[in-house]
Symmetry: C2
Subunit: 230 residues, 2 copies
């Protein structure tokens, strides 16, 4: 699963007890600690092969203590993926709320911010795309529904750009949107956080690529090379 | 794993015996039948959860007969992925051999042919990207090595286009190549073969997008929208 693994923190040596703390009463920090540990374990071993015991070992607590937070291994996966969707949903809402942006400028901002998020959260994004189908039907539908909002947002920006004469109106906005998501998402498979390319430079490069691809698809894409200098 | 599953053939009702046939002596057709069945089973159940018994059931033969072809479940995965690499390697060689093509036209042809291949082989491509990391070290390295040839080919075409003044020389060819692969590869996650978009229209759209993205990355991508009309 991992090709350019982010640094994985070793499990802390100290074995602590979480017994007696309910999920509601537990501090947010501990909750995050559990999800962080689950992310590392699922990323390293793959969700299918990982166990709740592995996650408990990663944190350095007893398995029984972990069951104060979750009922099943799938709960960990769902909460991880739900967390990703909350965060990328926030990005979408923030980008949508920026006033006075042309459609392709808004798309550039959206792609740039999502790519930077993906680059900074490689483990969770990797688990998301590798294991989302392992969620139970209802939970998977909940996740897919949120994802549909992103696809609709991007396709709508492309339609607006077509209406404004900035993109060839003959092009299929859904195809262009899917191409855009290929760029945004695939980052999790090739980006090396230890390489020379920082998350911001990556984000700008990917956003330039996507907006260039959308703006120049169709007739313009087949135009002679000289149009770069135009 | 599957979001837009291709049609899966039901297992044939007749239970046949392959006993006594060695892998070498077996007809090519039967060999292909075994790999086709393995692809369907791995795609449906996920490689991790699938068994050799499942594959035997899919073909309608005894498990023992299957062991005339392979020693382990991993052999099936490796031969599937090796087959994919042989086929996409053939595409690369054919595209490289076309005479008198400008670098970006050659890239357009390469992307178009690879995307069409991916669209027509969704199950195998899906297994490839989902489970390649499950191969043993040596086999995984062999597969990754072949993949490196594709990355080098695309990055080199981008460098040639930069040298010819067709692409902003400030852009990182490796970043652009990775963006291109995001488009080529991600098709397996969103393309619906039962939808209105045929493999050839998809391939042209994706290739236009990629070449547009590469040609207009950097300064050109930030140019005003009017440059579409230039």
């Amino acid at each position: 699963m991992k090709e350019t693994p982010p640094t994985a923190k070793p499990a802390p040596a100290r074995r602590r007890s979480l017994a007696g703390k309910s999920p509601k009463g537990a501090p947010r920090r501990r909750d995050e600690e559990v999800l962080e540990a689950a992310a590392r374990v699922f990323y390293r071993r793959g969700y299918a092969d990982a166990s709740v015991q592995d996650v408990a070992d990663e944190i350095g607590i007893l398995k029984g203590s972990l069951y104060h937070y979750i009922k099943t291994k799938e709960d960990l996966l769902f909460r991880l993926l739900e967390g990703v969707h909350e965060e990328v949903g926030t990005i979408l809402r923030e980008v949508a709320a920026v006033p006075d942006l042309a459609p392709l400028d808004r798309l550039h901002l959206y792609v740039s911010r999502q790519v930077e998020y993906n680059a900074r959260n490689l483990m969770r994004i990797s688990i998301y795309y590798h294991d989302v189908a392992r969620l139970s039907d209802e939970r998977r539908r909940a996740i897919y529904k949120q994802r549909g909002g992103h696809e609709a947002f991007v396709a709508e920006l492309i339609r607006q750009a077509q209406a404004a004469g900035e993109v060839d109106p003959e092009q299929d906005p859904q195809l262009l949107a899917n191409c855009a998501f290929g760029n945004v998402i695939w980052v999790y498979r090739w980006y090396n956080p230890k390489g020379r390319l920082g998350p911001q430079a990556l984000a700008k490069g990917a956003a330039d690529f996507v907006v260039g691809g959308i703006r120049h698809s169709g007739a313009a894409a087949a135009a002679p090379a000289a149009d770069l200098a135009a």
